[in-house]
Amino acid sequence: MKKIEAIIREDKLNDVKDALYKVGIIGMNVVEVRGHGRDGGIELVGRTGTYRIDLLPKIQINIVLSDHNVQRTVDTICEAAHTGSTGDGIIFVYPVDDVVRIRTGERGQSALQYPNDIDVRKTKA
C-alpha cells in the first residue's frame, strides 16, 4: 500500500476531487497548508504599495491506496490539477505499512475498499 500526498492549488480541489471520484478513488482527506516551491509568492496590496507573502495557501490531499492504483491516481491528479503555470504543485508517494478501519476493524487492503472504487470493480470483473 502507498500513500499519495498531492499539494495542489486551492481552487483545483473540486476539479481534482471530482476527477478522482470518477476513477473510483473515494477515500481521501484534505488539509490546508501553505507552501513554497518554485513559485515565488504573491504581492498583496496594503494601504499604500504592496508586500510579499512567500508561503502561499495550498491544498494537500492525502490518499492511501493499493500499489496498483498509484500510477492511475497520480496521472489523474496531474491532469486535473495542471494549469501549466508556476505553483501547480507536487505529488509525493510514500510506503505504508498498515491500515485499520476504526468502525469495522478491517485491516490492510480490505480496509481501503469502497463500494464503487477501482479495486472492488476489479474484483467483480
Binding site: 498583496l44 496590496v45 496594503g46 494601504r47 499604500t48 504599495g49 504592496t50 508586500y51 510579499r52 507573502i53
Partner: protein, 409 residues
C-alpha cells in the same frame, strides 16, 4: 430666559455622546484587523481600556483641567473636580441649551478616544503596564491642557482666533504627533524593515471599524454644534462628503499604483473624516468634497514616506491623523466662510489670509507641544519600567505574554 434646557438639543447631544463613545470600540476593530492574530486582543484592549481609564480620570479631574475656569489661558481651575458643580443646569459659556453635565459627558468621549488613537503607533510590542501609565499621564499633561487652549473660555489658542470645530488640533494633531514621538522612542517590531511580514490578520474587522467610525463621526462633528440645529446638519453633511471624496480618491491612488485596495478605501474614508474635523462647521459641502479629495494624497504619500524612512509607526497614526488633522486645520484657514457659520471666520479664499496664518500657528504650537511632552514621557517610562516587551514576548504575541489569553480557539 435663554438658559433653559432645550430637549431637542439635549437629545442630539446625548445621542452624539453615545455615537462618539462607540467610536472607541470601532477604532479597536479598525486597528485590530491590521495586526497579526497573536496580538489582536492586545490591540483591541489598547483602545477599549481607555473607555475605563480615561472616563474615571475625566470625572475625577480631567474635565476640570480642560474646562474649569481658566488660569491664565493655560489650564482650567479645580472647580469641577469630581464633577462637582457640573449639574443639570446649562453652562452658558459652553452650551446654553443643554445640561452642563451633557456637555461634560460629550467632551469626555473625545478625551477617551484620543489616547486610543495613539496606540496605533506601538501595537504588537508595547508593554501594557507602561501604556496604562503613559495614557493616564498623557491625558492629563497633553490632552486636557490642549483642549483648554483651543476650546476653553480664555484659552490661549481660542483667544488667538484659531478655529477647530470638532478637534482637528485637540484630537488628531495631538494624537498624530504623539504617535510619531512615541514611535521614535520605542524599538521597532522584530523583523520590521528586515524581511518581517506584517500581514493584517482580519481586514473585515478593519472594514467593520471603519463603518462604525463613519457613523460615529456624525456625532463627533455633528454633535460639536452642541444642538440639533442647522450647524449640526451642515457639519454632518460636510463630514459625509469629505469621507466619501477621500475614500474615492484613495481608491484611485491605489488603483493607479496597483489595484483598488479595500483597506485603502476604508483608510481613505477615515482620513477624510479626520481632515474635515476642524472644518466641519465652517465650510460648504463643496469645499468639504475638495478637502476630502486632497486629504487622501497627503496621507497616502505621508505613509509612503514613513515607510521609506523605515520608521515603525505601525498603523500610521501620524500619516493619517497627524498629517490629516494638520491638513484639515490649514484647509479651515483656506475654505472657512462666515456664510456657513457666523461665529466662525472667513478663510484665505474668502479674502482673509490672516486666518490661515492663525491656523498655521495653532497647528505648530499644538504639534510641537504634543511631540515634546510625549517624547519625554516615553523616554522616561522606557528608562524606568520599559515601554516595549522583550523580543521573546513579542514573538509569542502580546495576547499570551501580556494578557495570558488567546483570541481564537
Amino acid at each position: 430666559m435663554q438658559n433653559e434646557i432645550n430637549t431637542g438639543d439635549t437629545a442630539w447631544i446625548l445621542v452624539s455622546t453615545a455615537l462618539v463613545l462607540l467610536m472607541t470600540p470601532a477604532l479597536a476593530f479598525f486597528y485590530g484587523g491590521m495586526v497579526r492574530k497573536k496580538n489582536i486582543l492586545s490591540t483591541l484592549n489598547l483602545s477599549f481600556v481607555m473607555m475605563a481609564l480615561i472616563s474615571v480620570q475625566w470625572v475625577l479631574f480631567g474635565y476640570s483641567i480642560a474646562f474649569g475656569p481658566s488660569i491664565g489661558g493655560l489650564l482650567g481651575g479645580p472647580s469641577y473636580l469630581g464633577f462637582n458643580g457640573v449639574g443639570t443646569a446649562p453652562n452658558a459659556d459652553y452650551a446654553a441649551t443643554i445640561p452642563h453635565m451633557a456637555f461634560a459627558a460629550y467632551q469626555m468621549m473625545f478625551a477617551v478616544i484620543t489616547p486610543a488613537l495613539i496606540s496605533g503607533a506601538f501595537v504588537e510590542r508595547v508593554r501594557f503596564k507602561a501604556y496604562v501609565i503613559f495614557s493616564l499621564l498623557w491625558a492629563t499633561l497633553v490632552y486636557d491642557p490642549v483642549a483648554h487652549w483651543v476650546w476653553g473660555v480664555g484659552g490661549i489658542l481660542r483667544n488667538m482666533g484659531a478655529l477647530d470645530f470638532a478637534g482637528g488640533a485637540v484630537v488628531h494633531i495631538t494624537a498624530g504627533f504623539s504617535a510619531l514621538a512615541f514611535a521614535l522612542a520605542i524599538r521597532k517590531r522584530r523583523g520590521y524593515g528586515n524581511g518581517g511580514v506584517f500581514e493584517p490578520h482580519n481586514i473585515p474587522f478593519t472594514v467593520l471599524g471603519a463603518g462604525l467610525l463613519w457613523a460615529g463621526w456624525f456625532g463627533f462633528n455633528g454633535g460639536s454644534a452642541l444642538g440639533a440645529n442647522g450647524l449640526a446638519v451642515t457639519a454632518l453633511v460636510n463630514t459625509n462628503s469629505a469621507a466619501a471624496a477621500a475614500g474615492l480618491v484613495w481608491m484611485l491612488l491605489s488603483w493607479r499604483d496597483n489595484k483598488p485596495s479595500v483597506l485603502g478605501i476604508v483608510t481613505g474614508a477615515v482620513v477624510g473624516l479626520v481632515a474635515i474635523t476642524p472644518a466641519a462647521g465652517f465650510v460648504t459641502p463643496l469645499s468639504a468634497l475638495i478637502i476630502g479629495a486632497l486629504a487622501s494624497p497627503v496621507s497616502y504619500y505621508a505613509i509612503k514616506l514613513r515607510q521609506k524612512v523605515g520608521l515603525d509607526e505601525s498603523l500610521d497614526v501620524m500619516a493619517c491623523h497627524g498629517t490629516g488633522g494638520t491638513f484639515g486645520a490649514l484647509a479651515t484657514g483656506i475654505f472657512a466662510t462666515k456664510m456657513v457659520n457666523e461665529a466662525g471666520a472667513d478663510g484665505l479664499l474668502y479674502g482673509n489670509p490672516a486666518q490661515f496664518v492663525t491656523q498655521l500657528l495653532s497647528v505648530v504650537i499644538v504639534a510641537v507641544f504634543s511631540f515634546v511632552v510625549t517624547f519625554a514621557l516615553a523616554k522616561l517610562l522606557n528608562r524606568t519600567i520599559g515601554i516595549a516587551v522583550s523580543e521573546r514576548e513579542e514573538e509569542v504575541g502580546l495576547d499570551i505574554s501580556e494578557h495570558g489569553e488567546r483570541a481564537y480557539a
